[in-house]
């Protein structure tokens, strides 16, 4: 008689008696069935894992080889065998982004986000996609998620990069206020790194905060004195702020490092012209002030003369119309008079700047002195206000 028959005989007895036996047998069957199923599923799990890894590696390879479409298919297959692998889904989203299927990528990123809402890469990717779609609040939210989120490695660097991107996002939108406030946060947490200081300084310059830009450039130059970009930036910032002596120093250095840079050279020449012509310069004598005012007067005269000689009839006509009001300065435009009446120097400078601004380009390119007069006039206006 087999075990099965014995069991069945037991089971066929009175119901009251057989029930505990029956439960015991059922438990035994469960154990055996579970063990068999376990070995079967374990074999399948191993196969699945191997397949998922294989397809993931294929996808990664394809992505490295810039075959994004193939990578998408491979990652999808990898996910078929390991659907819960978060990193696989992330790579699929990245591959989708690489193929330009941003809507689909975004959908994947959005499905990843709830399980790890503080994940830096996902937040950054979503921020970029939201920014691209013009969804401003979402982009800001995800950028902040990336800035304060978790990063698998080099977290401070990634957070800083995300903040740089957020600032860039604000600048592209023309929101300089937000960009500047984020820049202040960024600059206060920057490590002693010349390139980072330089980047921040450039951004401060872009938002128009030359004061902070200048400070950052100086710090960058302290950290790396041989950096031409830092020297040039510091010079430009000083120039924009009207600190022409400082600008001249930096721009001279920048020009010495890169003499072929015409832009720097032009800026330097203009700066030197300003230093040469500015009658409001502190610490100069009354005679020197008058001399500079006269030099400005002569420069404008030359400009008007060149305008009259221009082949463009409209330029001739404009020069003729401007000459009238300008001639009123002729009786007083002498060293003695201007020394005796220093109060008229500022008026002369303003008038000269006004002339320079009205003379059209068809009269010929303005000289460094012409450009300098415009800036001196603007500075005189600002000082007067």
């Amino acid at each position: 008689m087999s075990c099965y028959d014995i069991s069945m005989n037991l089971l066929r007895r009175d119901f009251v008696v057989r029930e505990p036996v029956l439960v015991g047998i059922l438990v035994l069957i469960t154990i055996v069935f579970s063990a068999l199923t376990h070995s079967y599923s374990a074999a399948y799990d191993r196969k699945r894992e191997a397949l998922s890894k294989e397809w993931f590696e294929r996808g990664s390879q394809a992505l490295t080889n810039h075959q994004a479409d193939q990578a998408v298919e491979d990652f999808r297959t990898a996910l078929l065998y390991a659907p819960q692998r978060w990193d696989y889904r992330l790579r699929l989203a990245e591959a989708l982004t690489a193929t330009g299927r941003t809507r689909q990528a975004r959908d994947y990123y959005l499905s990843l986000w709830p399980s790890k809402p503080t994940n830096g890469p996902v937040n950054l990717a979503l921020a970029r996609l939201s920014a691209e779609a013009g969804e401003i609040p979402e982009a800001e939210r995800y950028y902040n998620g990336a800035i304060f989120g978790d990063w698998p490695a080099d977290a401070p660097d990634h957070r800083r990069d995300a903040l740089f991107e957020l600032i860039d996002f604000y600048l592209k939108r023309g929101d300089t206020g937000q960009a500047e406030s984020q820049l202040m946060i960024l600059s206060s947490n920057l490590p002693e790194d010349a390139s980072l200081r330089l980047r921040v300084a450039d951004l401060f310059a872009r938002v128009g905060d030359d004061q902070r830009a200048s400070r950052e450039y100086r710090q960058a130059n302290q950290l790396n004195p041989a950096n031409p970009a830092g020297i040039l930036g510091a010079g430009q910032a000083a120039y924009r702020m009207g600190n022409f002596h400082e600008a001249e120093v930096y721009l001279s250095q920048a020009h010495a490092v890169n003499p072929s840079d015409e832009k720097t050279m032009k800026l330097l020449d203009t700066t030197r012209a300003i230093l040469e012509l500015n009658p409001s310069e502190a610490g100069i004598s009354a005679a020197e002030r008058a001399r500079r005012a006269l030099a400005i007067y002569e420069t404008v005269n030359e400009r008007l003369d060149s305008c009259k000689k221009s082949p463009d009839p409209s330029a001739n006509a404009l020069a003729a119309s401007l000459e009238g009001p300008w001639r009123i300065w002729k009786p007083n435009a002498n060293q003695r008079h201007l020394e005796e009446h220093p109060d008229q120097i500022n008026a002369l400078v303003r008038s000269a700047a006004s002339m320079e601004s009205q003379i059209p380009a068809s009269c010929g390119p303005p000289s460094d002195k012409d450009s300098a007069i415009l800036l001196i006039g603007r500075q005189t206006d600002n000082n007067g206000k």
Binding site: F15, V16, E19, T30, F33, H38, S41, Y44, T77
Partner: protein
């Protein structure tokens, strides 16, 4: 107390016997034993575990088959896609025609038939046949799903267990749904939907007696399945998101389209299947292979997504990976592919294809909505999910399951309004344009006449108040004598009169008895005579079936108020009960 020596000896004898091994064992086993009903619940748990284990093996076998025949890539290579379903079709036909004659079909109707025709008995050969042929069919890419076969495998295991345990016929009939729920729950990883589906589509009515066992088995099977395959769903549901009320119009459109798609799907199967069944046996033998060949052709022409259950592609549709044109085409192609596979007699379920079609249709509507109204930021995943429910309601005609399935799968209650809106449209259109549900059409094509559960669900149960007659105008005081009482009721033509005592107790006296007591000038109050009959009572909201049972044995049944048990609301006789049944509409009338 004194006892005779003989009795005393017997008692001593009994005391010493108590400690003999046999007696001891009997006492221990009797202490350990449970009653049959409680044991049935324990059995339900074991059925759940076995069904869960079987479904795990079934799913793994299906996957191994797929790897073997179609390769490991998500989209099979064209040659494999072209050849695998056709060759597998030949093998399946060979198995069906030689070893497993009961294997064809989805498994749902077969389970239902087993329940109603053979007291829930499903042979173990059928279970093995379904396991082998369905895993081969689905694994080779036939457009069918594993849920309905899993349901039958679960029911079959339950039946096998019940048969081995020589359970009563009544318990055997209950075991089928228990196993079916377990099988379906494990296959779909959704116990609530599985329980509701079994109640809605197999049992047809709610019964507290079986509900506990069905729920236990479903939960046990899901837990078992998750131990082996993990808790991950068949497809990942992205965040549902906020649903705006303006979007309900789009969901209504989805409901209408879903209703039409369900109708097309039902009609296509209803048209093709009987034609194949009527064809010569030789042709029938080649049908799974021909269907496989056509399916391979579809895959070859650029629609490999329609192969197999398609959960991977549902996942992609949910993640917004297709354009609306592709989604619409996939829905249409899946209808075609499933019609071919199913009608050819290839074993496999309709559950997954229905979900696939619904998801694609929903995705298409959602994508179009986003293109036309970009400010309505509805998630495509929500539309896919609602689409699944829509097809479920329209094609399988399981409206309750369709709603709960969407809730259970998404885990988000905000989806309920769109699901209700869309499902209502789909269900009404489908019902209006095709009176007989697709599953019932298939059953009838097989020559079976199983209960129409959809109509049964909606049939109104008669209650006592539907049959009761108004209470008599006069209720006699039980303290009166017959001579005093008779003049009060002599003019009426009622056969029975009601009496009420001072304590409120109500009794009945037949007309002849009262008249006879009055004629004989009996001086006793009526309540002291022996002519009174105690009448049973019911309340107006109780089932008329209960009244039928009582009225068969008593001349009159009282209908009393629940608020005041001494207040008579009406009376009921057997004739009244039968009249109420005759007046009520009967199932199948006019069908």
């Amino acid at each position: 107390m004194t006892t005779t020596p003989a009795i005393s000896d017997m008692q001593d004898q009994r005391q010493s016997n108590r400690w003999e091994p046999a007696a001891l064992a009997k006492r221990i086993t009797s202490k350990l034993s449970f009653d049959e009903d409680r044991f049935f619940l324990i059995l339900a748990v074991f059925i759940g575990i076995f069904a869960g284990l079987a479904v795990v093996c079934f799913r793994i076998t299906m996957e191994w088959t797929r790897l073997l025949l179609l390769g490991s890539a998500l989209t099979p290579a064209p040659l494999r896609a072209f050849l695998a379903p056709c060759l597998a079709g030949l093998v399946i036909a060979g198995l069906i025609f030689t070893l497993f004659r009961n294997a064809p079909g989805s498994g749902l109707n077969q389970t239902k038939a087993a329940l109603y025709i053979s007291d829930g008995y499903i042979s173990i050969r059928t279970v093995i046949g379904k396991f082998v042929t369905a895993s081969l069919a689905i694994g080779s890419g036939h457009s069918l799903g594993p849920e309905d076969p899993s349901l039958q495998i679960g029911a079959g295991l339950a039946s096998a267990l019940g048969t081995r345990l020589h359970l009563s016929r009544k318990k055997m009939r209950l075991l089928g749904p228990v196993g079916a729920a377990a099988g379906l729950a494990a296959a779909f990883n959704a116990p609530i939907s599985a329980v509701l589906f079994v109640i809605e589509e197999i049992i047809g009515h709610w019964s507290a007696g079986i509900l506990g066992a069905v729920v236990l088995s479903a939960v046990a099977s899901v837990v078992t399945m998750r131990l082996f395959l993990g808790a991950e769903p068949l497809f990942r549901i992205p965040v549902v998101g906020v649903i705006r009320w303006e979007e309900l119009a789009a969901y209504a459109v989805l409901g209408i389209l879903g209703g039409v798609a369900s109708l097309v799907f039902s009609k296509a199967i209803g048209w093709l299947r009987p034609r194949i069944k009527a064809a010569p046996k030789t042709f029938q033998f080649f049908c799974p292979a021909i269907a496989g060949l056509l399916l391979g052709l579809l895959a070859f022409l650029g629609f490999p997504q329609v192969m197999g259950a398609g959960y991977g592609f549902i996942d992609q549709a949910m993640h917004d990976q297709y354009t609306w044109e592709v989604l619409g085409l996939l829905a249409g192609m899946k209808i075609l592919a499933t019609t071919l596979s199913f009608s050819s007699g290839t074993p496999g379920g309709m559950f997954a294809p229905t979900l696939f079609i619904g998801a694609m249709l929903g995705g298409a509507v959602g994508t179009v909505e986003r293109l036309v109204f970009p400010h309505l930021t509805g998630s495509v995943a929500t539309y896919c999910l609602v689409g699944m429910g829509v097809l479920f309601a329209g094609f399988l005609r399981a409206p309750i399951t369709s709603v709960f399935m969407a809730l259970e799968v998404s885990g988000d209650y905000s989806i309920i309004i769109p699901v209700l809106v869309a499902n209502t449209f789909s269900y009404l259109i489908s019902r209006q344009l095709q009176r007989v549900p697709a599953l019932e059409v298939i059953t009838r094509q097989d020559g079976l006449h199983l209960p129409a559960l959809e109509e049964k669900r909606e049939q109104e149960n008669l209650s006592v108040e539907d049959a009761m007659q108004p209470r008599p105008a006069v209720i006699l005081d039980a303290s009166l004598t017959a001579a005093q009482a008779w003049p009060l009721v002599a003019a009426s033509n009622e056969e029975y009169f009601l009496l009420q005592s001072a304590g409120g107790r109500i009794a009945v006296i037949p007309r002849e008895a009262l008249q006879s007591l009055s004629d004989s000038k009996d001086p006793r109050p009526l309540e002291e005579t022996r002519s009174l009959i105690t009448a049973p009572y019911l309340h107006p909201d109780e089932d008329l079936e209960d009244a039928l049972r009582l009225a068969s044995n008593h001349p009159v049944v009282l209908v009393l108020s629940r608020a005041d048990i001494t207040r008579v609301l009406g009376v009921l006789t057997l004739q009244d009960t039968l009249d109420a049944y005759r007046k009520s509409p009967v199932n199948g009338e006019g069908a």
